[in-house]
């Protein structure tokens, strides 16, 4: 009887501590959480507001001591500032998983870009698809600045492209010690390298590659 009780309690106990892996993206300007209404200004008086931040993450993989133990290959999650619930990604089926590092991509791989009509987060209805040059917009950052010379002082950075040599997908990895992972996206750092007088980038090419690398470098864990 005691053995049975022990087994049952151990089982229940293990279920309490077992949880699914969860990633929370935090969109930040330095240490503060970014909100759409924020007016961000520099010491020299130049300021800007970000109105839209959307980007794809995908191909999440978990590793234990260098060996892959789980993957979500071909699955993409759209992080969308218009839908803050999208900042959290749950990975069902990972309760019992033990891992010490993860990797994922920012953007979409070439297979996703050549596979025709897709649904879910890859649905062209999500506003992240170039109809005139088949392929996904991996990252969208839009806003306004009094310094911006474009129409309505609006800048638009649409980074995408999968054809060589201008692939914009970025792969990053982190060592992890918790099943709840907070990843900070330092938008302020990205914008710090942007020339606010410019209109932006709307096509694949060299600029899109450079900006994609710049964006990926802003992903940090605490």
């Amino acid at each position: 009887m005691r053995v049975i009780l022990f087994v049952v309690l151990s089982f229940l106990g293990s279920q309490l501590y077992a949880q699914n892996f969860k990633v929370d993206f935090k969109l930040l300007i330095t240490d503060a959480v970014w909100n759409v209404e924020d007016n961000i200004s520099y010491d020299d008086g130049i300021s800007y507001k970000l109105e839209l931040v959307k980007f794809y993450t995908g191909n999440f993989r978990m590793y234990q001591q260098g060996k892959e133990v789980w993957n979500e290959t071909g699955v993409y999650h759209l992080i969308n500032s218009e839908k803050p619930a999208s900042y959290s990604i749950q990975f069902p089926g990972t309760e019992k998983l033990q891992f010490d590092s993860i990797s994922f991509c920012i953007g979409t791989d070439s297979l996703a870009n050549v596979s025709g009509a897709r649904s879910g987060d890859l649905d062209p209805l999500k506003g992240m698809y170039w109809t005139w040059n088949s392929g996904y917009i991996n990252v969208k950052i839009e806003g306004t600045s009094p310094a911006c010379k474009a129409f309505n002082n609006a800048f638009e950075y649409h980074m995408g492209g999968y054809l060589k040599p201008y692939e914009t997908i970025q792969n990053i990895g982190f060592r992890v010690s918790s099943k709840e992972l907070e990843i900070g996206v330092q938008l302020g750092e990205f914008m710090g390298k942007i020339d606010l007088t410019q209109q932006g980038t709307m096509i694949p090419g060299e600029d899109a590659v450079r900006l994609s690398k710049q964006f990926a470098s802003c992903f940090r864990i605490k």
């Binding site: 025709g116 009509a117 897709r118 088949s134 054809l163």
Partner: protein, 338 residues
Amino acid sequence: MKQRYFVIISFVLLVCLGFQMGGNRVVKFNVPKGWPKPVYDFDKHPLTVEGIELGRKLFYDTLLSADNTISCANCHTSFYAFTHIDHSMSHGISGKMGTRNSPALMNLAWSKLLMWDGAVNHIEVQALAPITNKDEMGESLEHVLEELQHSTIYPKLFAKAYSDTAITSERMLRSMAQFMLTLVSADSKYDSVMRKQSQFTAEELAGYKLFQKNCNSCHTEPLFTNNEFRNNGLQVYKTLNDLGRYKVTQRSEDSLMFKVPTLRNIEYSYPYMHDGRFKRFSQFLEHYVSGIKDGPTLSPELRNKIQLNVDERAQLTAFLLTLSDKSFIENKAFAFPE
């Protein structure tokens, strides 16, 4: 006892009826004998009678345009091998002028890249380009789907083709692709000769030999295109400044490269080239003989001059006319749905 049999038989009949109504009738895509393997994955997404019918209805529906005047068929008309006859460049809603000639649509299952510059990389996303182009149909995907959802006929047609009435972008695009994939042209006189069911005339045969010598490397049989991109030496018009595939890839080696079009049904699909600059065979033949402009990306095959005297041009013309497939342009299954 009889009553029980009646119940059983009725049940079986009802189940069969259920399959007929909700089920999809798969259509096998026939690859003509000797043709290469299609690029489209028919195993992953088989054609169905209902999917094709829905796609055809959408292809011919002006609802897909902002002012309800332009359907796909406006620029891709079945009797002209699905191109826009008599138009060097097509016009869209409100009479807006486009910048390219409407390509003839056929044998798309074998094309990896679509459009003159290969901007579209899969037949399922092809429809998105003209639908959202402001000079063509000028619509948004959201609005088109809304209109379909509010229409009296489309929910039923989507339910027939798919398991329920949900009208999604994936379903709309896939069914349009299904219809376009059925546009196969493989029944011209040339095909009949290849199947040893008829013979070329002496003139056509001479033309065929000239074709094999001068044209086949790019306009490769049996598709009459190698589905690749080439610079065929057309002079750039400064007003259009169309650099072709360079716009898509941003690579200098793709400057002035355009997709090699099929020569099938060339009799019906004038005018010719990406900007429709040539109205007659004689004009493009003259181009290949004396009009080629040299440049760093010129197709290597065209660096040596093509020589065609008057008789040879007549022979080549006779051969090109054997690529006309009347059964294709007259096929009721491709025409406006009744």
